[in-house]
Chain length 227, copies 2
DNA sequence: AATATTATTATGTCTGCACATAATAACCGC
DNA sequence: GCGGTTATTATGTGCAGACATAATAATATT
């Protein structure tokens, strides 16, 4: 037995075998350090990791207990679309469907905390994998963040220009299922009403709104991860 | 300036202001510890956190660099359905639609690594929020893990019995959009073909398969999180 | 020149020790 | 008893120093 990972494994196994039942207190860091013959910091590292995972619940003075209803945390990798497609071994390309300045829908302005009557850059892009439609991107960009000669989004996708030029910090993301509207249906070459997997994201740099984007994936798309 | 969190914040701001550009090397832990007037362990804690978040990429000897294409990690809380509904301030109830032993579909058996001709417990449950259909659960249970007098799943939902009685470790989860089939449409009281948000999960305790479950959410459901 | 060997270096982790902090338990005066 | 003050305790974080490890650079060998 050596290393904080082996301690984490040992603790996990004691939880699985119900030696330490759900909701029960486990020994203190100090006691465990003594038992495992290591420093308290090492035990701390192992327990902190398990708490982050949702397996343990820790409170000062109260001690550490096994989570009664463990809230498992699944982590999704949010990456650049090109990478997503390339990692499937497919070739990537994209095509700008439309581009222009207009007033965003109320919903978009609200999500970004912008006035409804502001002019924003509206971009619709089709992303293809092996030449076949993969997803439609519907993006609204805050013009305030763009350099004066606006970048050419037909060359570098807005997606990639942003990650390369605006190091954003916060944001939120939502997943849902929706029937394809006419534009999506046409772009993806599917009948209107087809069930599509939708990703919607709003990103900010600090309090500064950057962009709102909606990705409508082709039918059959699965977002997958391990627990 | 004090504490590893403030160091993380400072590093992040240097990345955002492009003082340390994407793809570029940042000073070594030792150098930063000297600059910030703290121990190397403190810098390490801050940088490790940022690397976990996907902002930095670290390699021994090679040093630490700002991720060129940062892979943001969104974490989803996978919780018990009752909690999910209760946290919305709605009342929870459920109703077992069907229950019995039968052979699982090929897909389910394959995902769990079980022979196709095995008999499994098949449960279909409707979960309701404020009395209205919220989602349909289609679950296949490995009978090998159940105690001899099988628990009464009409009293305690299989979902909760499992988290309380089987401390699972691994598993995978997938999200997709699919048109409602006849059974789902009937249970959720929507027209067949309606776009539904689907969650599919396979869970194992070690190598031991436990259960496979498919959750079909009512239209309008959104899975949301922060980045 | 190509390959194998040996430094070198930055991160990864561990150890003891210390103090800070938050939550609980014990106490005490009324 | 009751309410407020004061220990007590487990976790959270910090420090300085040490060795381990992996990846690279430099060197020696064939």
């Amino acid at each position: 037995m050596q290393g904080w990972e082996s301690i984490r494994a040992e603790v996990l196994s004691r939880i699985q075998t119900r030696l330490w039942p759900p909701g029960g207190l486990i020994p203190s860091e100090e006691a465990l350090a003594l038992e495992f013959g290591c420093a308290r910091a090492t035990v701390n590292r192992a327990l902190r990791e398990l708490a982050l995972q949702g397996v343990l619940e820790r409170k000062r003075k109260a001690g550490t207990r096994v989570a009664a209803l463990p809230i498992r945390k699944a982590t999704l990798d949010i990456t650049v679309i090109r990478h997503d497609i390339a990692s499937r071994g497919q070739s990537y390309s994209f095509h700008v469907l439309s581009q222009g300045l207009s007033h965003p829908p109320l919903m978009v302005a609200a999500r970004l905390g912008l006035p409804e009557r502001i002019l924003m850059i509206h971009l619709q892009t089709l992303h293809l994998a092996d030449g076949k439609p993969y997803l439609v991107e519907d993006r609204w960009l805050n013009p305030a963040i763009l350099p004066d000669p606006s970048p050419d989004f037909t060359r570098q996708s807005a997606n990639e220009w942003l990650v390369a030029n605006v190091a954003y910090t916060t944001g939120d993301i939502a997943f849902s299922a929706e029937p394809a509207n006419l534009a999506e249906a046409a772009a993806l070459n599917v009948p209107p009403g087809t069930a599509l997997f939708i990703t919607e994201r709003a990103t900010f740099a600090g309090d500064h709104p950057i962009t709102w984007v909606r990705l409508s994936h082709r039918p059959g798309y699965r977002l997958q991860t391990v627990l």
